[in-house]
């Protein structure tokens, strides 16, 4: 059973630079880490420490410049752009801002990520989108537009959108930053529960101490270098 123990994300001595020439600045220093299926990993660190850069590298939004980064067994170092775009389809993204499409209803927003999987019929896509909205407790709001929803509701729609296609990896960048304590808590719990059900790995970037207890592991990033910390240390 090697497949089950293969990591979903494996990062090996990845370094990253911004700018070029004399302005070239290194932001990641030989980062190594792994995330296994079904794991919830939190990535912490002060702003500017490079955690978002790492997230965009894992999310196939940037090309890996140095080191080896494997997502779902595929090497992303020197990967072609079309390969990156295809890999993105296996990732569920949750952004700090909800980034929903304003012209679409909650249900249509969720369905947008199913449209990338052409083997479904229109009806199946609709049903699955509604099921997903039900799972985040927004079935009654399916036909509302984003601007008619509260911040927490929007973030829950974004979670539904990220998870509806059952991605193997969920990447979230401070999903609770714009939310109050209770809705932040709800959002994270929904995310954790659904990810567990579907066996997706979750990598979550946050500053929010209130939600650290959902994590299986916590990684700490500082000045572009990664270290593992004990959860108890941080919570204490």
């Amino acid at each position: 059973m090697t497949a089950a123990t293969d990591p979903i994300i494996s990062i090996d001595h990845v370094s990253h630079y911004f700018g070029s020439g004399r302005l070239r600045k290194q932001v990641l220093y030989e980062v190594s880490a792994r995330v296994d299926p079904g794991e919830v990993v939190i990535l912490m660190g002060p702003s500017g420490s490079g955690k978002t850069t790492l997230l965009t590298l894992i999310g196939a939004l940037r090309s890996t410049q140095e080191g080896s980064l494997r997502l779902l067994g595929e090497e992303m170092y020197k990967a072609r752009k079309s390969q990156l775009v295809r890999l993105r389809r296996n990732i569920g993204y949750i952004f700090q801002a909800h980034n929903l499409l304003n012209a679409l209803t909650a249900r249509q927003n969720v369905q947008m990520s199913l449209d990338l999987h052409p083997n479904l019929t229109a009806k199946e896509k609709k049903t699955r989108s509604l099921e997903m909205l039900e799972a985040v407790g927004l079935l009654d709001w399916a036909n509302y537009y984003p601007q008619e929803l509260s911040g927490g509701q929007k973030q829950r729609v974004a979670i539904a959108r990220a998870l509806v296609s059952s991605p193997r990896v969920v990447l979230a960048d401070e999903p609770t930053a714009a939310l109050d304590k209770q809705s932040g808590r709800d959002v994270v719990e929904i995310m954790q529960r659904l990810a567990r059900q579907r066996g997706s790995a979750v990598l979550l970037v946050t500053h929010d101490n209130r939600i650290l207890d959902v994590a299986d592991r916590i990684l700490q990033m500082e000045d572009g270098r990664l270290s593992t910390v004990q959860r108890e240390e941080v919570i204490a």
Binding site: G59, R62, V85, N99, D115
Partner: protein, 385 residues
């Protein structure tokens, strides 16, 4: 992705005010193009109205003539020579000149086109000129009821009294009937009279005519007759030009199209309308893309290809062009009608022009789309984290 969500359409109708502004802008451009091209064609059509009405198969004119308003005369003998060509049924000499017409109501004068021919022969169809009997009388003329209104309420006066008297070229004449031809760009109004009356009005040599109309026997070969006339009359003498009816019409149209500024002016007007429309559509699409940049970046992050986003912008462009065109098209039909009533120019919506302007509109929107999509490339998914 046949069952995919129609994002382009949903984005367009989400911003209703912007959509309306866009449609108004496109509609404006469409109307501008229709009006300019319509006027251009109307002027060209009006300039050949007489040519089309004349019921001849072959026409003869002086090679010095450039247009109906600039006719040079030629010897009537040439036309009579044509009578001898096999297949010719009859020839009709036509005199054409301009004279000052005195408005019977307010005594103001205005230049009018006068045509003289032998009234025992008909030169145009009965629908246009039902009765030429009056022309047999001395100093009687027929008046074109579709002449511009500045010539006075001649048709009304005639229908009231049965005749109208006024002066043409300083000579007292009586309007003994009406016909329908219509104003052209060159002539604001028309009179016809007999050749004898014409010569009384204008002190001219009767042997010099302005235009010759030749009718062939039914079933005679037009091309053959023309070839023969060119060989026997046109080529050896060099003082006449033999033209088929189509060539005759094309000759006149060509003058207005290429020897005057009209074609250029109206094409320029239409071109400006097109550019204005393009700028409007570009602005709308650009703003739309700029507003949705974060959303587009999100879609890219989700794994949508650039191609999908480009197609969204192009779909929006095509939808805009169709939605903008339809109301403007119907508005233009009404505008054409109103203009036709006001100017006596033949202005109708033709399928050709409709198709042409629709293609221009489509091109306008797609080109704007092509410029606006460059902005989509800026949507970088790495920026939205």
């Amino acid at each position: 992705m046949i069952f995919a969500i129609p994002l382009a359409w949903l984005q367009l109708i989400r911003e209703k005010v912007r959509l309306l502004v866009a449609l108004a802008g496109i509609g404006f451009a469409v109307i501008l193009m229709f009006i300019q091209l319509g006027f251009r064609d109307a002027l060209f059509d009006s300039s050949v109205r007489l040519h089309q009405a004349l019921e001849g198969d072959i026409f003869m004119m002086s090679p010095q003539s450039t247009a109906l308003i600039a006719l040079d005369s030629f010897s009537r003998r040439r036309l009579l020579q044509a009578e001898g060509v096999p297949g010719v049924e009859s020839v009709t000499p036509i005199y054409i000149s301009f004279a000052l017409w005195k408005n019977p109501a307010d005594r103001s004068t205005r230049s009018i086109q006068v045509m003289g021919y032998d009234p025992s022969q008909s030169i145009v169809s009965k629908d246009l000129l039902p009765d030429s009997e009056a022309l047999k009388l001395r100093d009687y003329v027929l008046f074109d009821r579709d002449s511009r209104p500045e010539f006075g309420p001649v048709a009304e006066l005639f229908e009231e009294k049965g005749y109208v008297t006024t002066e043409v070229a300083g000579r007292r004449v009586t309007v003994g009937g009406l016909f329908n031809l219509g104003a052209s760009f060159g002539a604001d109004g028309n009179l016809v009279t007999s050749d004898i009356n014409f010569l009384r009005m204008f002190d001219r040599d009767p042997g010099l005519i302005d235009m010759g109309m030749i009718r062939l026997d039914p079933g005679a070969n037009v091309d053959k007759a023309i070839a023969l006339m060119r060989k026997d009359i046109q080529d050896p003498n060099g003082d006449v030009l033999v033209l088929s009816k189509d060539e005759f019409i094309a000759f006149e149209r060509d003058y207005w199209q290429n020897s005057t500024a009209i074609g250029f002016i109206f094409n320029l007007g239409a071109g400006i309308g097109w550019i204005v429309g393009m700028v409007i559509v570009y602005q709308i699409l650009y703003t739309d893309v700029a507003d949705h940049l974060a959303e587009y970046a999100t879609l890219k992050a989700m794994g949508y290809r650039n191609r999908y986003l480009l197609s969204v912008v192009f779909q929006e462009a095509v939808v805009l062009s169709i939605l903008g065109f339809i109301p403007a098209f119907f508005l233009c039909i009404g505008l054409y009608q109103a203009t036709e009533n006001a100017t006596s120019l033949p202005l109708q919506m033709t399928q050709e022009r409709g198709t042409f302007v629709f293609c221009l509109t489509m091109a306008m929107c797609v080109i704007s789309g092509a410029i606006a999509v460059r902005k989509v490339q800026e949507a970088d998914p790495a920026d939205i984290f």
